[in-house]
Amino acid sequence: GNDGPAKGGGGTDSVEIGALSIVDTAPVHLAKSHGFFAKNGISAKITPVQGGANSAPGVVSGQFDFGFSNTTTLLTAREQGLPLKAVANGVSSTGQAGPGKDYSAILVPKDSSIRSARDLPGHNIAVNQLQNIGDTTIRAAVRKAGGDPGKLRFTEIPLPDMAAALAAGRVDAVWTVEPFQTQTVDQGARAVCWPFAEAVDNLSVAMYFTSEKLLRENPGLVKRFTTAINQSLAYARTHPEAVREELGKYTKIPPSVIDRIVLPKWPTEINRASVQTVADLARKDGILKRPADVGALLP
């Protein structure tokens, strides 16, 4: 509720969480359906939002108590002065490059001349949002592979529409995540690069966050939320079949695809070093105007 968490009957707090309905957020749904929230005295309502950037205003205004957003977005918000604090890890890359190893990849048409990150410069790559974690990590991956990131061209296309754009030859390559990765590969595309894994070790891609106000006023609740999420993260990591089952409930991913998608990793710890790396990369790419104060964001 927008009046802050309300103490319901039986000693539970009602909280509202703004989170995208994608593979990455499976733990928060698990936490609800498997009783991790309840165990910690929380009754949660999960409101789907479009794009992580849209949950930030909700959290700031108090409509949401917690949000889910990617690291770059949170760093940018912090830099612009939004009083946000990360409270738990959200989702991490598997850290492994190679076909079927990570949940995000750059895909090219089957007959493309692109073979690896090195070949990408000079080509047109679709990302879901410009100046965000996608293009930063791609640049880093290219740089690492010895290519010239300055020659990369990016086009912004929503994830669901990338397959069509790639098939029609509107772009040379697409940077995508599950379930689109599996679907696009089904349609004949080929993975050539895994930027999350190649750019940063064990990247913490996204995090759960709250506002400084809530943290100040109800630190106990935040703590219980963190505990619940961490329990759920651990559960998700060890119970992939439960995750796939949960995906069948809160998303519309076709069942045949759910069975085959590559799941991300859900460690309970935020990889601070990776966040610092992302911050440095974003600074290099001009997304951040100043060196980021990572400590202010992370718990």
């Binding site: 409101t47 205003p57 909700g58 669901p160 098939a167 349609q187 076709p254």
Partner: protein, 269 residues
Amino acid sequence: MTRREERAGAPMSAPRAAGLGLLGLACLFAVAEAVPRLGLIDPRHLPPATAIVRRLAAELGDADLWTALGETMRSWAVGLALACCLAVALGVLIDAVPGLRAATASTIEFLRPIPSVALIPLATLLFGAETGSTLLLVVYASFWQVLIQVLYGVADVDPVARETARSYRLGRWARLRHLVWPTALPYVMTGVRLAAAVAFILAVTAELVIGSPGLGLRIQLAQSGGAVTEVYALIVLAGLVGVAVNAVVRAVERRVLAWHPSVRGEVAR
């Protein structure tokens, strides 16, 4: 000339008009079926019409869909009604108070092109609660449609009719009710039809972006789940709702505008 047929020909019966309308929709269906089947577009990106319709039929069996549709229609109806009332009231006021038109023109023209979507942060800030935000967006976007139509409509009053009203000393209210309003009504009807679509679009978009429950949310879920056929099925549903809304507005129009050349030319001739 078509006009002659229209004037001199037999008036068209309602079933015949409906039949023609169905024929038009059938043509659309045929095209939508043929394009993917002939491979002009990859059927995986644009499924053939039959597949979409089949999927839609399956969806319609889902009670949740009806709840979602109900949610959307509720914010649609409330938002549209609010926008229409506000716009008509303001439009009439602007016409009635001398100088107000000039004083408001610049502001109206400045505010009109601001996309509703850009107001989302402000909306969540002001209202927080989802319905409030959705309503704000819906009202903001559809308000202008009606307002502009009203402003043009009230300026169209026949000078002789205006003089008649003045000479019989019809009061402000009577002039409004009996002269200005009927004259503006055809314009308003067009405005309402325009606004109805815009309000519906905004209701869906707001759900899509803010994530309040409804048809838009379902579309978004289907999109981010890569369920292409379902996305199109829901879009078709949105379109059909539009067709239904238009049919209702047309029926209303036939009643309230029976005196107007545009309608009376079609019934009794």
